[in-house]
Amino acid sequence: MSIAEYLQYGFIQRAIAAGAFISLLCSTLGVLLVLRRLSLIGDGLAHVTFGSVALGLLFGTYPVYVSLPVVMASSVGILKLMERARIFGDAAIGILSALGIAGGVMIASIAGGFNIDLFSYLFGNILSISVEEVYTSVILSLIVLVVIVFNYHDIFSITFDEEFAKAGGINTQKLNTMIVLFTSITVVLTMKVVGIMLTSALLIFPAVTAFQIAGSFKYSLMAAGAVSLASVMLGIMLSLFFNLPTGATIVLANAFFLTTAFIFKRVRSRGRT
């Protein structure tokens, strides 16, 4: 079957539409998180998502609707632990992450019977995304991306030098809260694309790849977006052609682009010397 023939199917069209927006969302936030040395916040929040999905399944509610408020509250909790309790970011993430996993396991153990559903969220499958989920992904992604574009200079400022930004009158607390809330929305949406276990890959890989080839903040965001989009599309297509798990294929496509960018950087720097 050719690509054109695959594209006739509604489930593939839905996967591509949702994948495109979520990939751009992940890459944008990934650049901000990696530069602020908060790469693993995605991993931590994904673990919280595990607990909240279990909660949703326990009450028979659509898991995304339970996960969004729970994960958003957890992300603010991480921020408060860092700011007020003066706990290092990685330790704060570790605390919430462990609580998320422990909560999920506890709920699954007490309730029983929905372990298969829970495991389907662990590894995700973008090819099974519903029309409703596509709309949710596209609308939330658009809102987040538009807000980031309109606050680009302030976000760049706090990412580069928070103290200078604050001295210049930028409300750094508001922006920091906004970024972690956007990260929690992204993590919940990404759960359907690559699953809870691989969510952080979509945040980290495109950003790190972009840093190998881009010399400016603006081009880093653009390069990360391009790499993320290409990885998701390539991953979906390869998984269809070779009957591979889509989430894992998307992550491996990301790894391919990172390796290529790394080699390109090495060759370019040797050429200069």
């Binding site: 530069l35 040395r37 309109f150 606050n151 680009y152 200079h153 302030d154 760049f156 400022s157 580069f160 030098d161 928070e162 103290e163 200078f164 930004a165 604050k166 001295a167 210049g168 009158g169 930028i170 972009a210 840093f211 881009a214 010399g215 400016s216 903040f217 603006k218 081009y219 880093s220």
Partner: protein
Amino acid sequence: MPEQIISSDSLSYRYNSVEVLSNISFDVEEGDYIGLVGPNGSGKSTLIRLILGLLSPASGGIRLFGHPTLEMKCRERIGYLPQKMNFFNPFFPSTVREVVSLGLMSGKKFPKRLETGDNKAIDDALDMLGIAHLRGKAIGDLSGGQQQRVFIARAIVNMPDLLLLDEPTTALDPETRDNFFKLMKRLNREKGVTIVLVTHDTGSIGKYASKLLYIDKEIIFFGGFDEFCMSGDMTAFFGPSSQHLICHRHDHSLLALKAKPKDE
């Protein structure tokens, strides 16, 4: 009548119940060039951060341009250079131009955008620091001294009324350091920029600044250099060589200034 730029009234600050600054009162007027000196841990950077409203005082208050510092809105009137090592990630993917442009953002309304005139302001600031040729370079590819000059350009790009500089000459070689002090003097004399500069370079401060603010948790000395140099032996506070160094360079500078009209 010159505008009151900073007014500190019985300012104290505690960190984890340890008193870092105690009963600090001083006024800075428009056109002042203050050298803020003191030993390590004396509270110099804390005082700068209190002036900027980045920290809240335990008691007392501080006013900036006549407003309580925490309520001060016109942030574009301030240029700030933080201590470098505290914040900089050398792997940050950003060009010199992008970094300097951050200094222009405090005066802009939402949604903030760079305008045509801003490019000229960035070029002018880079020119003043002698690094115009680096504008397209990644900040991480520069040497420590070049990076420091980029951050100084970011502080002055907006042509602020008040410059707060926390150890700006760290990592600068002697020639660049001298050029930096000359630039600050020019901004102070010609553009009327008020400067508060934290430094351990007491010799240069004696030569270029108009007033000295020496703190060690409290104010040890605040005033002009003539007053300072005539204030007798202060080696208990300044160490055996600092007072001599400050006064020697200051006298030398005064002699040079006095000699200038005769030469012309």
